[in-house]
Amino acid sequence: MMSSKQGKSGASRRDVLAGLSAGTALLAMPWVARAQGETIRIGFPTPLTGPFAAEAKDQVKSAELAVKLVNDKGGIAGRKVELLVRDDKLNAGEAATRTLELIEKDKVHAVVGALSSAVQLAVNEVTRARGVIYVSISQSDTINEVKDFSRFTFHEALNPHMTTAAVAKHTFKQGTKVAYLVADYAYGHEMLRGFKRAEAALGATGVGEILHPFGAADYSTFMPRLRSMRPDILCICNFGRDQANAIKQAVDFGMKQQMQIVVPVLLHNQRLAIGPEAFEGVIGGANYYWGLEEAIPSAKAFNDAFRAANGGAVPTDYGAYGFTGVYSLLLAMEKAGGTDTDKVIAALEELQYDIAKGPQHYRKCDHQSVQSVLVLESKKKADMGSEADFFRVVATEPASESILRSCSELGLPA
Amino acid sequence: MSAPLLAVENIGRRFGGFVALEGVTASFASNKVTAVIGPNGAGKSTFFNVLSGVLPPSTGTMRFKGRDLAGTPQHRFAHLGIARSYQITNIFPELSVHENVRVAAQAFRSRYDIWRDRAALTELDDKAAAALAAVGLTHRGSATAKFLAHGQQRALEIAIALVADPELLLLDEPTAGMGPEETKEMIALIEKLAAERTILLVEHKMKMILGLSDRILVLHHGRLIADGNPQQIQSDPEVRRVYLGQNDGYA
C-alpha cells in the first residue's frame, strides 16, 4: 500500500510512517510530473505468505541482490533503482490489486515477479492493459500463447514445455513405458502435453494417465492403478505440496523399487521440506542449481555475491528467477538509457545476457527467455557433500529454440 | 348450540414410537372459554401444537369453520383466524413493544413488499395501539420488549395474538410464573376477551380454571378422559383418580 520499501525483515515503523506521509503527499498531488533523474522503481509482487513463502523470500533476496549490484555500479544513467516488494498472498485478486497500486500510486516503471500461473496471468492482464513492462518469473505455457500475449511482458522463467522436453530427453528412451500422474489444472495439463510430445518423439510408450484433483492431500487411491500399469517411469506432473505428497506416498507404496520417478520440476525447498529419503533418486528439471558454479563462471559470480549478501546461504531455483528477471530488465534499461517503455522493450528483445546460468536471450515472437534447462537427480543422504548439496546435475540441456514451441504454433507471427 | 367453530375428530400424534396424543375428538363452539387440563406429560402441549398448526396430526381430521385443515401450513392458521400464545414467553425481544404488535398486525397487510416505506402503513400503528390498550400496555409502547416485567411480557404476548383479531385464541398457560396480583389482572383480561371470541387455554391453576371456564377437557396419557362443565369435571371419578394418584398438588 504505502510507498515504503519492504525488505526481507519487513519495514520498520519509521518506514511506514514515512510511507504514510509520502502516500499523503502523493494523493495530494497525483498530477505532478516526475523529473528526470528520479529513482527507477521496480514493483515486485511475490507470495510472502502462503505455501510458497520460502521461495518468495528467496526471490526477494535475489532480486534485491540484482538491484544492489546495479546501484553499486552507479545505477542506470545516473538513476538509482528501487525494488518495491509487495505480498500478493499467492492470490490472483490480491496480486492484481497490488499491481494496480504499484502502477497507479507508486508509478513503477516495470513489474517483475509472481509465483504461480494464476497470479502471473493476473499481473500480466493488469500490466498489459496499462502498457507497463512485466518480467514474469513463474512457469506457464499459457502466458506464451497468443490469447494472453502482451508485448510488454517477458518470460524469464522456463515454461512447462521446455522443462518437460529437457527432462524427457534425458530419461525417456526407445520403448520406455511411461505412466503419468497429473494434477488436473492448466499447469498439470501443460506438463503432460509436453511429456506426451517428447514421448512420441523419443519412441517411448505411454501406458496410462491419471488426473488427480488439484491440491489433493492423499494419493494412495491412485497408487494401485499406477502400479498395475507396470511402467518403467512414473511421471508426476504437479507442483509444490502436491508433488511432495505424491512422491512421498509413491515411495510409501514401494513404487520406487519398480520404476523411476520423474518430475518436471525439482524444487530446492520441497526437497528440503520432504527430506532426502523420499526424494532419493527422483529426477527432474530446474532452471538453476547452485552446483552449476563448477561449470559456469556466471553462476559462480552469482553464488558468491548471494553468499556475501546472505550469510553464506546459496540461491535456490525459484529464487534465482528473482535475480535473472530483475537483472535482465535492468540490463535492458541500461541499454535503453532509461525507462522509456518502447526503448526498453526493444532493448530486451535484442538483449543477450549471461548473468547466472550461461547465455540467455528473449525470443522475439513470444518474449520467452531461451535458456538452458538443468536435469537433476536427488542425492542419497550419504552422498550429500554439504547441507545444501541436494542434487546431482544429470545433464544441462543447452539454450536452444528447438525445445520451445514454434511461434506459429503459439499463434504468433515469427 | 350453534355450529362448531373448530371440530377435531380422532386426532393423534406420534413421535417415532411414542404416542403423545391419541383419538381425541372434540368440538368448540363460539364465544366460550374451554380449559385443557391434565398432569404433566398428558399431551396438553402436543394438543395445542396440533390445534395451532405447529405439528400436523398423525391421524384424524381438524375442521375450522367447516374447512378441513389437513395440509395447511402453520403460518396460514393466523390468517384463518387461529392465534396463540406460548407457555414460555415468546416475543420479539429486541423490538419495541409497539413494534412487536405492529409487525404482528402487518402479517395481514403486507408480507413481501420491499418498495413501500413501512412507516406509511399508519393503520398498523392504530391497530397496534388498540391491541396494546386492550391488554393495558399503552404506556410501555416505546420500551424494548426484553426489558418489560414478566407479567407485562405475558400481556404483550396476548396483544400480539390479539392484533390478528382471531376467532379462536389459544392461550398456553397465560399466567405461568405470575404472582397473585399479575394473575388477577390476567384473569380479568381473559374474561374481557372471552366476550368476543372463543378461547382455549391450558392452565395448572385449578381455582382460576374453575372460575373462568365454561368447559373443561382433561387429558391423560394423550387421551381425552373427561369433557364437561366445571361441576361435572370436579365430580368425575376418573379425573379424581388421575389427579389424586399423581399427588402433585394440582387438584
Binding site: 487411491t221 494401485p224 492403478r225 498395475s228 505440496r241 512421498k248 507404496f253 525447498n269 | -
Partner: protein, 290 residues
C-alpha cells in the same frame, strides 16, 4: 478392470476413511454435546501433527510423539474451551463458530512463526516402513498400522461412551442437554472433557497422518472441509454417523479415483449435497437437532 484392483481400491478407501473418521469423530462429539461447530478443528489437526513431530524429534521416537501429542493437544483444547468458548455458551450458536474460525487463522499463523511456512519432513517410523503383500496387492505397512490404531481408538471411545459414567452423561447430554441439569451433573466439567476429547482425537489424526502427508501449516485446511462433509453426511452429533460416513466418503473417493480420478474431490461434496437433499439431518442425525 480386474477384481484385485477393485478390492485394493476398496481397501485404500477404507484406509483413507480411517483418518477422516478420527477428525470427524472429534468434530461430531463436540457438536453433539456442546452444540459448537469447531472451525479450528482442521488447524488443531495440523497442530497435533506438529506437536507429534516436535515430541518425536525431542525423544527420537515416533511412539512418544504418537502418545504424548494427542494428550497435550487435548489439554490445549480444554484450555481453549475454558478461556475462549465458555464465555459464549449463553450467546447465539453462531458465536463459537465465528470464534473458532478466527482461532484457526491464529493457530496456522502461530505454527508458521514457530516452525516456518515450509513443510517439515516427517519420515515413516522405520519399524513400520515398507510394504506388505495383502494377496490382492501391496500396501504400505504404515497405513495398515493407521487402520489398526483407528479401529482400536474407536473401540476405546465406544467402551468409554457405553461403559463409563462419563459416557452415560455424554450420551444423555447429546440427546437432551436439559437432562444434565436435572441430574445435577457438573456440566461445565463434562463439556471441558468432551472438548478436550474431541480435540485430542483430531490431534491423534494429525499425528497419524503426518508420516503419510508430511507436515505443513496448511495441512488442516482441506481436512476441515473433508471432516465437515463427513459429519454432515453422517449427521452432526452422531458418532456412528461419523464412522459410517467416514468410510463411505473414503470409499467413494477411492472408487472415483478408479473411474474418474479428477473428480475425486468433487464427489465428496456432491455426495454431501445429495444426502442433504434427501435427508437434511444426515444419515444418522436426529431431525430435532437441525
Amino acid at each position: 478392470m480386474d477384481a484385485e484392483l477393485i478390492a485394493m481400491q476398496l481397501f485404500s478407501g477404507v484406509a483413507l476413511g480411517a483418518i477422516l473418521i478420527m477428525v470427524a469423530l472429534g468434530l461430531s462429539i463436540i457438536f453433539g454435546m456442546l452444540g459448537v461447530v469447531n472451525f479450528a478443528h482442521g488447524a488443531l489437526f495440523m497442530v497435533g501433527a506438529y506437536a507429534g513431530l516436535w515430541v518425536a524429534s525431542l525423544t527420537g521416537s515416533f511412539w512418544w510423539g504418537l502418545l504424548v501429542a494427542p494428550v497435550a493437544i487435548g489439554l490445549f483444547g480444554m484450555a481453549i474451551e475454558r478461556v475462549l468458548i465458555r464465555p459464549l455458551y449463553r450467546r447465539s450458536v453462531d458465536d463459537p463458530l465465528l470464534l473458532t474460525f478466527g482461532l484457526g487463522y491464529v493457530l496456522v499463523e502461530a505454527v508458521r512463526i514457530a516452525f516456518g511456512s515450509d513443510g517439515i519432513p516427517f519420515p515413516t517410523p522405520p519399524e513400520l516402513a515398507g510394504v506388505a503383500d495383502l494377496g490382492i496387492g501391496f500396501f504400505p505397512i504404515y497405513r495398515l498400522f493407521v487402520v489398526g490404531v483407528v479401529a482400536a481408538v474407536l473401540i476405546l471411545v465406544w467402551l468409554c461412551l457405553e461403559k463409563t459414567r462419563f459416557g452415560l452423561i455424554v450420551r444423555a447430554g447429546a440427546r437432551d442437554p436439559l437432562i444434565m441439569r436435572v441430574l445435577g451433573v457438573d456440566i461445565a466439567g463434562v463439556w471441558l472433557l468432551v472438548f478436550g476429547l474431541g480435540v485430542g482425537l483430531t490431534a491423534l489424526g494429525g499425528v497419524l497422518a503426518a508420516p503419510m502427508r508430511n507436515v505443513n501449516p496448511e495441512m488442516g485446511s482441506l481436512v476441515l472441509a473433508e471432516a465437515f462433509v463427513v459429519t454432515v453426511i453422517g449427521g452432526m452429533g452422531s458418532l456412528v454417523g461419523a464412522v459410517v460416513a467416514g468410510l463411505l466418503v473414503g470409499v467413494a473417493i477411492s472408487m472415483t479415483a478408479l473411474f474418474a480420478p479428477e473428480m475425486a474431490t468433487i464427489v465428496m461434496f456432491a455426495l454431501m449435497a445429495l444426502v442433504l437433499l434427501v435427508r437434511p439431518q444426515g444419515l444418522f442425525g436426529k431431525p430435532g437437532r437441525a
